[in-house]
């Protein structure tokens, strides 16, 4: 099964990995503007403190996001839950909300003097403090659990129901069969979700800054924002790259090399949905609660802001909305295409080198986005002046930044695809293009769509790269929201933020409706 990969796959894979490693290379260049003092600064106790705080937050958010997503993924893909697809769409929307907005929303709702203070105190309930660890945990869990949700759903949909049926026929109760068969088989999906969530937390700046929790990423921003010190910032960034490498190696170790596809004869078919029966109401309540927190609360706060400020003339949002959709869609297509060679190499031709290439895709993912944006400024000006300042440069930035999201999901669904199916098709006389079109692509579709949805949603809210690399005058909804909140004009931020959520909902709705027959209907 580990036949040599064709040369073009290698070329594509190496090119993608090189692109993804660019931010790290840039940091090495910047960090070497030497003086010993800054290295000393790096090794202070404070750096270790920051590291522990950052890793603690990343671990906690990952665990919470996984715990929330597993039941949601199962309910929306394996049961007769009413309105499954609508729930999936709503549950994914928080991904499109910039974390600097979620931070403001939490403060506006739970902060001192916030909207919930009076009702809570009327009931004699204490107002929970949103500052520090609890607030950062809440904000980041709400904005990252969809990474898990989409990965787990793709995993569940690709899972052959025969596994579960086999377990049931051996006498396991449905619950035990779920924990002993379904969940272990989701290991690759958990792994890719955990990487996306954990590394995203390492890179987040918006939420931790507003909710006053000090992390590595925040320390890096401080160097740019306050000190104009690119050298020290680059060194902190390199430290973060080291952490990322450690996490990636650890994840490979934990994941192991098990196969996750079916190997028996016959074809896989769709599972029949589990009847929820009397569990239907609690299931709906769970979905409703998560949606209320992730979508209802921000929409409520945004509408409140917007109504308060309706008197002012509103800036048009149609142009920025079209720009957002166009650039994010291009970014999603680019990232999914870029992810394919890396995922194919790592899954179909596993070896040290191919796994290393696939891991390289995560090169810049844990870095604060400003570092990535500056590294692309560097690349653009030095090597690609003809692209610099064009939309292509922005799409390239989205590709580099969001490649890991596409790789993670593609990889886990590819792991569950039995390689003998395309081989059989080939032996039956299909040319490679036919195998791809008629066998591999349809089987991979849920995974690819989930990857595209992820990238689309996250690109919609992307800020630093959009500000620095988009063609001049190319406004997106996210830049509009930023420019209003930066000056404290929250009323003006409301409309573009609401449109951002609405457009993202439509986009994900469209992708989910394309999921096709693999969902029980």
């Amino acid at each position: 099964m580990t036949r040599r990969a064709p040369w073009w796959l290698w070329v594509a894979g190496v090119a993608m990995a090189a692109l993804a490693l660019l931010p790290a290379v840039y940091l090495v260049v910047r960090a070497s503007d030497a003086d010993a003092d800054t290295w000393r600064l790096l090794l202070r106790d404070r750096t270790w403190g920051l590291l522990w705080r950052t890793l603690g937050l990343a671990g906690a958010v990952t665990a919470c996001a996984a715990a929330v997503s597993l039941p949601l993924a199962w309910l929306t893909s394996r049961t007769d839950l009413p309105g499954r697809r609508a729930w999936v769409v709503l549950l994914c929307v928080p991904l499109a909300l910039p974390t600097f907005v979620s931070g403001y929303v939490l403060l506006a709702a739970f902060g001192t003097g916030g909207a919930l203070e009076e009702p809570l105190s009327r009931w004699g309930l204490p107002v929970p403090s949103v500052y520090g660890f609890p607030g950062a945990l809440l904000a980041l869990t709400v904005s990252t659990y969809p990474y898990f949700l989409l990965a787990l759903r793709a995993g569940l949909q690709a899972q052959d129901p025969a596994w579960l049926e086999g377990a049931r026929s051996l006498g396991l109760t449905p619950a035990r069969a779920f924990w002993r068969v379904t969940v272990p088989l989701l290991r690759p999906a958990f792994a890719s979700g955990a990487l996306l969530v954990g590394l995203y937390v390492l890179s987040d700046f918006g939420a931790v800054a507003l909710l006053q929790y000090d992390t590595f990423s925040r320390a890096i921003y401080v160097q740019y924002e306050g000190a104009y010190d690119r050298t020290y910032a680059a060194r902190l960034g390199l430290a973060l790259v080291v952490v990322t490498v450690a996490v990636l190696v650890l994840e490979v170790r934990l994941r192991g090399r098990a196969g996750y596809h079916r190997s028996a004869k016959g074809a896989s078919r769709a599972a029949s949905p589990v009847r929820l029966g009397r569990w239907r109401v609690p299931a709906l309540l769970l979905c409703g609660a998560v949606v209320a927190l992730g979508v209802g609360l921000p929409v409520g706060v945004l509408v409140f802001w917007g109504v308060r400020g309706l008197s002012g003339a509103e800036a048009p949002v149609l142009g920025p909305a079209l720009n957002s959709v166009f650039a994010s869609a291009l970014g999603a297509v680019a990232a999914v295409l870029g992810a394919l060679p890396l995922a194919f190499l790592a899954v179909r031709h596993p070896g040290r080198l191919t796994v290393a290439l696939e891991r390289a895709a995560y090169g810049g993912y844990a870095l604060p986005p400003i570092v990535l944006a500056l590294s692309l400024v560097f690349l653009g000006v030095q090597a690609l002046p003809f692209l610099y300042g064009t939309l292509a440069m922005l799409v390239l930035a989205y590709l580099v930044r969001f490649l890991p999201q596409a790789v993670g999901v593609t990889r886990s669904s590819l792991l569950q695809l039995n390689p003998h199916l395309p081989e059989a098709a080939a032996s039956l006389g299909q040319p490679p293009s036919g195998v791809l079109r008629r066998v591999t692509a349809p089987l991979l579709r849920p995974g690819l769509l989930a990857g595209a949805a992820l990238v689309f949603l996250t690109a919609m809210k992307e800020l630093p790269a959009t500000l620095l690399l988009a063609p001049i005058g190319f406004e997106t909804l996210a830049t509009r929201v930023w420019s209003a909140t930066a000056e404290g004009r929250f009323a003006e931020a409301a409309l573009p933020a609401l449109v951002l959520l609405a457009v993202s909902t439509l986009g994900v709705g469209l992708l989910v409706s394309q999921e096709g027959g693999s969902t029980p209907s």
Binding site: T112, G114, A209, Q223, L467
Partner: protein
Amino acid sequence: MTRLLSICLFLSLSSTALAAETLTVYSGRNEKLVGPLFKKFTEKTGIEVKVRYGETPQLAATLLEEGAKTPADVFFAQDAGGLGALANAGRLQPLPKEVLGKVDARFRSPQGLWVGTSGRARTVAYNTKKVKAEELPKSILGFTDAKWKGRLGWAPTNASFQAFVTTLRLLKGEEAATQWLKGMQANSPRVYKNNAAIIEALVRGEIDAGFVNHYYLYAAKKDKGELPVANHFVAAGDPGALVNVAGVSILKETKKADAARKLATYLLETDAQTYFSTETYEYPLVSGVKTAAALPELSKVGSPDLDLSKLDDLRGTVKLLQDTGVL
């Protein structure tokens, strides 16, 4: 007749298209604030302006990364620190004397590499329901008093706060600055992301007083109407009375230096200065333009006597903030 008209229209359009020059500006100032000014400039001179908006420090870092190949002609920054970083790296060219001469020497680069376009004073904003004006200390140094424990907010990662700490170091010495930061730490101030977030917290009643730039309060009032928040100006000459500037500079390698100079000139004309005063509630820096009615005169604010270009010594400030555990 229509044909003639359309020919005329075509000719006039094409002639303006030919004549139109395009300037590329990197603006660390918000589009809402300065966008209308660029429009007026285009109407007046026929020079088109393309603007990349962003955060001042991030645009400064971008300009440093782009080096000589930058597409930018002009850098319009929100504070003197960003301009200083580019001046130090040798990325700026001197401005003409007549432009520099319009502004008091305190508010421009001694080498003539940038010029302030509007002034931004440090103030203490306070919640008028919780604090009486006479309770507030005359000097920023008074806020280390234990009675302020748990009542203050600051934004130590914010460039304007760091410029103030630099002022404190330069005016009172490292030791005094260290003491002040430690005293403040003992009062456990709440940490905010920026000035706007401090004003929000004051409106919510989360804190009683916070260190901000003066105009954020007026922006918030525009957004929300009357608020129980007011600005307190500390005594003239106090480090807490620093007036920093937003300013303009021309990139060294620009091929459009003439047009760039026209823009710099325009920003110091009465028109633009009045705009800053009335629309953004900043201090106009050219004499003869009225300060917004809600504000004390710039001369009364009494910014301490300090060379603003020295505010680029931010490394020392950030190091001090790190050593005292503030950052």
